[in-house]
């Protein structure tokens, strides 16, 4: 169990990368967040967060996938590492545990 805590945006991005599996990179993440969460995020914020996550060791990146729309430039793909995976697990567990303690919050099926 890691002692560092993820920020809200970092958690969002990290989760997104997991969702997108092997195809996670800057633009796709922005679009996915827009589609799934109806939330406009800026590309630069996404990039910076990804680099921060990489520094923390929760994601790893590799280059590849040059296309014409990008003027022949490669993309930087991100994948979640085992550390990142475990941190997500930890978050989910601790959050669920906490929410279970709220008496009124009942899930209406």
């Amino acid at each position: 169990m890691s002692k560092t805590y993820l920020g809200e945006f970092e958690e969002l991005i990290l989760t997104m990368v997991l969702v997108l599996k092997d195809e996670a990179y800057g633009n796709v993440i922005v679009k996915a967040i827009k589609d799934h969460q109806h939330r406009e995020v800026n590309l630069s914020a996404v990039h910076v967060t990804l680099y921060r996550l990489e520094d923390k060791g929760y994601v790893k990146s590799n280059m590849g996938g040059a296309t014409n729309e990008r003027g022949g430039r490669r993309k930087r793909y991100f994948q979640v590492t085992n550390a990142g995976l475990s941190v997500i697990q930890t978050i989910k567990e601790s959050r669920t545990k906490l929410w279970d303690l709220i008496p009124q919050l009942q899930f209406n099926s």
Partner: protein, 882 residues
């Protein structure tokens, strides 16, 4: 359909600030976004969003770090460069030696010449008020007869003082051999022994202040203010009055005990870089050489120095000085009935010569000082630069020629990831290393040869190591030379394409040989011009020394100090004539070499003094044996004899006869201030430097003089000298005999020509060495290049001659071109140098032919070293390696 593109400006901005590692993916994402936006929205909106995104990306985490961590590694790179440079240097020892050797020679020559030029340019720059000190020169603007002179009549001092408030001070100088100026017999009153001393001049008191002469004893403002006083230099004071203050002591000159002179002060020795080199100043205060002399405008013997007030304009003053011309000179000429009045009015003007220019820019002024020539100074600077250029060319040629040796290294470096700029840095580092070694060696060579150079150039130069700016300027110098020589090879070598190199096909050497050949031609043209120059100067020197001068200078001994014999003179002369070797002897102060007395007079035909133009001529007082002793030729009439009437007889030279328009001069009467009867015409002889035309001259009888010219005919000069000395000692036991030789005195008049000849030879020699070094390296290299070709030719049956010819022919072609180029350049330079001499040797074809042959032989010799080796070598060796 044209594709919309996002803002180039902001893309550039992004590229500027973004971290290198992130840049590619970020800009890729931005472009992808842009393309989507163009489809989702409009082009304009897409562009706007792009710009907004670029701005948003400008945040920490994306921006490059400010401290560039890459630069920290440069130190290691340079270490590597030096290491590789050193290895390359030691691997190809011969080529490195040639490069460094040539450079060192060039730098040594450059340094020596720089010192020489610096010294020449430093004359008379030490005055505090130097920009206000001038020498007044008169100018004769007649285009057919242009002349300048530094001498004026006696009253010029007062005339200048009275009329021009802009003149703070005016002081006159008499430096020419006139009365007691020049040389004298000198002794303190209580001594018995007189010593011969030189360096006497007459000076006004004000001159001491104008020339800012520092006084050791006595007061600068009054040392010469009393009549019959003098100031002596510190070194003479140390010689005659060691460790005492000699002010107030009495001096006797030339045993004239009735006219003692008081010492008014002791002055500091003149620095070596001053145009004035006097040891004795005799005052002009109260001096009048003959009654009325000081106010008479007839004789021009005084040289005025002035100091103008602060803020005065010398050019305006020159114009104002024309007042003097009108009020004094013209007035005087009219009064004395001279026929030159119109000439004076039309052509006479003044020129104020700044004191700093006197040493170098007094061409044609004809004062008695020794001068440098500004033209020569610039010529030497040009030569220095040329020799340095030659060395640089060697470096460039050899570096580019043997580039194939470095090709693999260059290719490899590029493959591993060097940028071209890195390679350029590397090769510039190499050339700076060479430059540093060469400069150090060059300085060593300069130190070694400085004494010899001082001898040749007649100076005492020192390398200025004590000055604080020596270190930094040396470093700058090394860098500049390294850069100049290294720039072209650096660019050439760094341009190699790795694929050509590693494939092994390129033997990049024979290409771009055009530039190389041009440089070789340049080197040899320079060398040939220098050789031609040296030969011509030597020839002129020979011409000068051997020309028929109109008198016989060989085997003539000049015995000084004869005036001290007093009335024992004629007895002494007779004793001399008894000696078997002595052919003839004559007494006179006037001899046709510089350093003896001169006396300029004005002559005109008797009775026609207001009608004809008068003639300026020398008037020499000689004795009746003079013409015979000097070996001069009487063309018309006769020489002097014992006749009583000969006391008013005069012999004139051909030029004087012509100037006086005398068809039959014998029997005519001419006048200066006495009347003379012309009894003979002597053949023109040179009595001043042959740069100038022979001027009019006359001889009259006079029994005064301090020099006895003795004509001997002997094979044993030493023995003759001993006999003469013995004879002298009988008459003058207290005075050591002092003599010199006429031909030596004559040669000394042309010391500057001799010096030029020597310097030219040295530099020609150096230039040839440097050029040949280059040629040697080049030929060695090219032979190496073609070793395979040579081996194959040998196998196919080529003989030794064929190979040799093949290798040397190309070089010979270049030399021939050099010769052709050098001919017009050499011709032009030589003609303009010889134009200074009125009497000169001809420029003949054989000079160029000889120079050309010398160069061809030397070049052949150089090239044949390698060619012969190549022609003899076993062809197997050349083919084995492939």
């Amino acid at each position: 359909m044209k594709n919309a593109r996002p803002s180039k400006l902001f893309t550039a901005f992004l590229e500027l600030y973004c971290r290198r590692s992130l840049f590619e993916s970020i800009i890729g994402d931005l472009e992808e976004q842009f393309e989507e936006d163009v489809n989702t929205f409009s082009v304009t909106k897409a562009k706007r969003r792009y710009i907004w995104n670029v701005i948003r990306f400008f945040r920490p985490g994306i921006i490059k770090p400010i401290i560039k961590t890459q630069k920290l590694n440069q130190y290691d790179m340079f270490k590597n460069y030096f290491k590789i440079a050193w290895r390359s240097l030691t691997k190809y020892k011969m080529y490195s030696a040639i490069k460094i050797g040539g450079f060192s020679i060039g730098i040594a020559a450059f340094l020596l010449i720089l010192l020489f030029v610096k010294d020449e340019l430093s004359y008379d720059k030490h005055y505090d008020q130097g920009d206000r000190i001038f020498r007044v020169i008169n100018v004769h603007n007649d285009p057919s007869n242009f002349g300048r002179g530094s001498n004026f009549p006696a009253q010029i001092g007062q005339a200048l003082r009275d009329n021009f408030p802009e003149l703070e001070k005016v002081g006159r100088l008499i430096s020419s051999d006139w009365f007691n100026a020049g040389n004298n017999q000198f002794r303190a009153e209580d001594n018995l022994q007189s010593n011969y001393e030189e360096g006497f001049a007459y000076a006004d008191q004000d001159l001491l202040e104008i020339l800012e002469i520092e006084m050791v004893y006595g007061d600068q403002k009054s040392a010469l203010s009393k009549p019959n006083s003098m100031v002596i230099s510190k070194r003479k004071a140390d010689k005659y009055f060691p460790d005492q203050d000699p002010v107030g002591q009495t001096i006797i000159l030339n045993e004239e005990e009735s006219e003692p002179i008081l010492i008014g002060g002791v002055m500091e020795n003149f620095p070596t870089n001053s145009h004035l080199q006097f040891d004795f100043f005799i005052t002009l205060t109260g001096e009048e050489f003959w009654p009325g002399e000081q106010t008479n405008w007839c004789c021009w013997n005084y040289s005025p120095y002035i100091r103008i007030t602060q803020g005065s304009n010398p050019k305006e003053l020159e114009e104002k000085l024309l007042l003097i011309k009108d009020n004094y000179i013209v007035k005087n000429a009219i009064e004395s009935g001279s026929s030159n009045v119109d000439n004076i009015k039309k052509y006479f003007s003044f020129y104020l010569q700044p004191v700093a220019n006197i040493y170098l820019e007094s061409e044609g002024i004809g004062d008695d000082f020794s001068h440098g020539d500004i033209k020569l100074v610039w010529l030497f600077v040009a030569i220095a630069i040329f020799i340095l250029l030659l060395a640089c060319i060697n470096f460039i040629n050899l570096s580019t020629a043997k580039s194939s040796n470095r090709a693999k290294e260059i290719g490899l470096r590029k493959v591993i990831g060097s940028f071209r700029s890195n390679l350029i840095q590397q090769f510039l580092t190499e050339s700076i290393l060479y430059s540093a070694i060469s400069v150090t060696l060059g300085i060593g060579l300069a130190i070694l040869f400085l004494p010899y150079f001082n001898e040749v150039s007649d100076k005492s130069l020192v390398l200025p190591f004590a000055v604080w700016w020596v270190g930094p300027s040396l470093i700058v110098f090394i860098l500049i030379i390294g850069l100049i020589a290294g720039v072209y090879p650096a660019f050439y070598l760094s341009a190699f394409k790795p694929i050509d190199v590693l494939r092994g096909s390129k033997s990049k050497g024979s290409k771009s040989s055009k530039l190389r050949n041009v440089m070789v031609v340049f080197q040899f043209t320079t060398s040939i011009v220098l050789i031609v120059g040296a030969m011509m100067v030597y020839r002129q020197m020979e011409y000068i020394l051997n020309k028929d001068l109109g008198f016989d200078k060989d085997q003539v001994i000049m015995l000084q100090g004869a005036n001290t014999l007093g009335n024992k003179l004629s007895t002494f002369k007779n004793e001399l004539l008894k000696l078997p070797e002595v052919q003839s002897a004559a007494l006179s102060n006037y001899l046709p070499v510089e350093g003896t007395k001169r006396d300029g007079n004005t002559f005109y035909k008797e009775g026609r003094d207001k009608i004809d133009k008068d003639v300026s001529a020398q008037c020499w007082k000689v004795d009746k044996d003079y013409v015979k002793t000097m070996g001069m030729k009487i063309l018309e009439g006769r020489g002097f004899s014992d006749r009583a009437s000969d006391s008013s007889a005069i012999i004139i030279n051909q030029t004087m006869a012509k100037k006086l328009n005398l068809e039959n001069p014998i029997g005519e009467r001419i006048k200066n201030w006495e009347s003379w009867n012309i009894i003979g015409v002597v053949e023109d002889f040179h009595f001043s430097t042959i740069k100038y035309n022979i001027r009019p001259l006359s001889l009259v009888l006079g029994n005064e003089g301090s020099i006895i010219a003795i004509k001997v005919d002997t094979k044993d000069m030493a023995a003759s000298l001993t006999s003469i000395t013995q004879t002298w000692d009988v008459f003058m036991p207290n005075q050591p005999v002092r003599y010199s030789f006429l031909d030596e005195a004559y040669a000394r008049m042309y010391e500057d020509v001799q010096r030029t000849a020597n310097l030219f030879t040295i530099f020609a020699f150096l230039a040839i060495i440097v050029a040949c070094l280059g040629l040697f390296g080049l030929s060695a290299f090219l032979t190496e290049q073609r070793s395979k070709e040579i081996s194959i030719r040998k196998v196919l049956g080529a003989s030794f001659q064929v190979i040799f010819q093949m290798l040397t022919f190309d070089f010979l072609k270049m030399i021939v071109i050099s010769i052709i180029l050098a001919i017009p350049i050499g011709w032009y330079l030589m003609t303009s140098w010889l134009a200074d001499f009125e009497y000169r040797t001809d420029i003949s074809w054989d000079v160029f032919a000889i120079a050309g042959i010398i160069v061809v032989l030397i070049a052949l010799f150089t090239v044949s070293f390698e060619s012969i080796k190549a022609s003899i070598v076993n062809p197997v060796k050349g083919l084995k390696s492939d």
